[in-house]
Amino acid sequence: MNTPSNVMAESQSRSGALALDISPARRMYWSVQRELWENRSIYLAPLAVGAVFLIGFLIALIRLPGRMRAALALGPMPQHEAIGQPYVIVALMLMVIEFLVAVYYCLEALYGERRDRSILFWKSLPVSDVTTVLAKASIPILVLPLVTFAVTVATQFVMLVVSSAVLAGSGMSAATLWTHVPFFQTSLINLVHLVGFHGLRYAPLYGWLLMVSAWAKRAPFLWATMPPLAIGAVEKIAFNTSHFAAMVQNHLLGSPDSVTPAGGMTMEMLAPLPLGQFVLSPSLWIGLAVTAVFLFAAVRLRRVRGLS
């Protein structure tokens, strides 16, 4: 038997040695870090797309001086479009892959750990369900947009520098290129679009997918897609309207009137709205509130569902 003084001494030495607690921020950091270890596609997929595009772009450089001369003969707007096009295309390609990785990640995030039973290991550590779910939600909402932004900027920078060198080599000035693709401004538009649209504006979608992945016993993809389709179908059959579909579409793709058809395919088309208007728009905040509800449900489900 332990005497009380022994117990005291032991508990003191125990608290003296290691009982320094761990801050919530550090727990969150390691929870996000472990998602990056497990899901390397978060950065490998954008890097691969950037690399493949660069290879194609480098091969096409042979024709750059000719294309540049042709572009210079055009009017100001078509010229702007022609010169900026590859930069827009790479940004769009990276956005598409970012979206696909995010959707795939969300559907797997809280489903995979139950399927392979590793949830028993995660839950044997002092990390709350709230921390875990928030760490997982931060991947599509914040981490993936930022990673994609970094890859886009790096790719576009390499493209600009190499193009300038080729143009200089063929005796042309690179100044036209840099005025049509202003690097700093392009990057800023990219950042706002990725974080604002692909992160915050799409957050309710990611929240929904995370909730389904915490809930589904199998086939999370089907469970994620069937209910919205069912709601749309019932609404169409019952009332012959499609408000639900329009609402989802407006939220994810922007309202139809905000797209400027005259703009063509330029980097400016990705600038969503004036930033102030975007931040203050009610639909953004309603979306974020809906996200919070989905994430709260995901936390509850992860706690209750456990292994089943």
Binding site: L18, W37, L120
Partner: protein, 291 residues
Amino acid sequence: MACLEARGLRKTFGATVALDGLDLQVEEGRILGLIGPNGAGKTTALNAIVGLTSYEGRLNVLGRNPWTEREQLMRDVCFIADVAVLPRWMRVSQALDYVAGVHPRFDRAKAEAFLAKTTIGPTSKVRELSKGMVTQLHLAVVMAIDARLLVLDEPTLGLDILSRKAFYDSLLNDYFERTRTVVVATHQVEEVEHVLTDLMFIDRGRVVFSRSMEDVESQYREVLVHPDTLAAARALNPIHERQGVGRSILLFEGLERQQLAALGDVRTPSVADLFVAIMSSRRGQAQGATR
């Protein structure tokens, strides 16, 4: 102080009753073996103790409610579910980094020292390790955590006999001390019986037998009875009888050694034999009652 106390613990899954009013109390510094047939409710009970499942009834683990305070509780409790739960994509170094990052009582140097004695390299992935090595890794992590309660659910399932023995040797020699408490559920009784201080049999969600190992040793005797003295032995009300080679083996409760010595060789029953005896006598009674 009771480290772990359950009163009337109940859990149902639909129509299946997994825990049917389970009572148990474990004092600090004990090593309790929870033995039961498949589906007896062992895993459900342990999951409730570590906050993985909800329950009805009262459950107190280190002064906390595991269902509402899992996060805080897991600073003082370690849990090994079974060998397959370490994420397969993880590298050994990542496992150590992560646990060090989230667990305030994890001593990384200790875990590395333990791993240095094995053949597990820091860059190996869990999926590349054998079952025995994964268990060693998990044990290395758990043993480096200064916890007060260790909960093990079939920790050696699927391991060969050498790994099983090594597991319990490490547990006893390197980990266990007086301020720690261990609860282990298994049906591989032979490996654990020399480790335990307390023994509990559960069946259909209820505790059917609960004794300290000292009590088991002083209360239960097994006698190898020659056919000539069998009638006399049966008159003493054995709780169980089975056939050995040329002898009958009778199990008695509460009789003195001297009293039994006249009937044949007396020995302490193994936990496995005791388990079979208690379970079959219970099932016999249950059948008698329904008839």
